[in-house]
Amino acid sequence: MNYLVNNFNVVAELFLQHLQLTLAVIFFSLLIGIPLGLLLARIRWLRGPVMSVLGIIYTIPSLSFFVLLIPIFGLGTRPAIVALTAYAQLLLIRNWLVGLTTIEPAVLEAARGMGLNGWQRFWQIEFPLALPMLLAGIRLVALSSIGIGTIAAFINAGGLGVLLFQGVITANYSKIFTGALAVTVLSFAANYFIRYLEQRAEFRIYGKRI
């Protein structure tokens, strides 16, 4: 606790770095995951192979993954964002796909009957109905990125993992506590914030909390 009081600015800066890393991962994984998920929802036979590849990627231990990326991306935030975005695809697409494929066909047919074109159907029907599941996926991505993001400090990606690693190397227990506490606070905050958004999205669909 002493460390936190005496070095509040350092901790705050690392906290923001960690948040930035997580937001970057969420951004890039949505950029890839949303179109890929849509593709998988339309083309059924692609699902098996793509999901198993994503499953294999997800299984690779994070420290190994970071090391394997060093020859290509060097050290720093770039390899961290690449690895975390790759992990995120499984969590994101699995949820997004469930959201998209569990929409009742009758609803889509009604939309078609009302004369909505493909884009309108996606934007006005499919997206809002699948949004709660997508947000659940984003929540998992945020939590895993915050967690694994601590390990990324090892390859100089910054963030709260810096406190953990430095604390262990210098046997500064107060620093380890501060790092662990800050990263746990960030995880809980992200969890509750995104869960709140999920409830809002559900409320928009069903008109009540479920």
């Binding site: 690779i60 420290l63 190994s64 601590t150 390990i151 953990l164 506590f177």
Partner: protein, 213 residues
């Protein structure tokens, strides 16, 4: 490719060191899994019948899951110091939530009609548990074990930072010398171990069927 060749050369020159580290890694991971199974399985089965306690326990462990594995491992240091045992305990703790939550969910998920039929056939509570509920919950339990083992094998790499040994030693050593091939000697086998464990349990799940008599 050059990097991989150099990594292979390093492996050839340090075979005994490599196999020692691999053994440590496997011992650390499997001990952690066995201990956490010995504790988490009975608790999971026990709380499955006690909804009140279960809600509390499950919520606590779900919240606990949010704490990053690196933080759990490094927090062992102030309390338990450096070395094999602190790493073992941290990894055991890490394997806890998936096993416990899946065991609970698996037993809770058994169809009430099946249990009723079993009771109707005159089975005692213990018989229902051992002959009906646990066998039917095996797929869920094994899924928990699968998730936990991959997590433990991955995190055992981090044990190197708190002196727990294992294949992570190559990664820390390679990083200290900024020698990528040495890091690969640790990184590639760990990845293979994780993938092997994942496929082993997936195969087991696919093969597992309830015997039909």
């Amino acid at each position: 490719m050059d990097l991989f060749l150099k990594a292979f050369e390093y492996y050839m020159d340090n075979q005994s060191f490599f196999w020692n580290a691999t053994r440590q890694h496997l011992v650390l991971s499997s001990f952690a899994m066995v201990i956490s199974l010995l504790i988490a399985l009975p608790i999971g089965i026990w709380i499955a019948k006690r909804t009140g306690i279960a809600q509390v326990v499950i919520n606590v462990f779900n919240a606990f899951r949010v704490v990053p594995s690196l933080a759990i491992l490094f927090l062992a240091l102030p309390y338990l110091g450096l070395g094999f045992f602190p790493s073992l305990i941290a990894l055991t703790v890490l394997a806890f939530p998936p096993v416990l939550i899946n065991t609970y969910a698996g037993i809770r998920g058994v169809d009430a009609f099946i249990i009723e039929a079993a009771v109707g056939m005159g089975m005692t509570k213990t018989q229902v548990m051992s002959k009906i509920e646990i066998p039917l919950a095996i797929p869920a339990i094994v899924t928990g074990i699968r998730i936990a083992s991959v997590e433990v094998i991955s995190s055992a790499t981090l044990a190197s930072f708190i002196g727990g040994g294992g294949l992570g030693d190559f990664i820390t050593r390679g990083f200290a010398l900024y020698d990528v091939p040495i890091m690969l000697v640790g990184a590639i086998p760990v990845a293979l171990l994780a993938l092997t464990s994942e496929s082993f349990w997936s195969l087991f799940l696919r093969r597992y069927q309830i015997p039909e008599n």
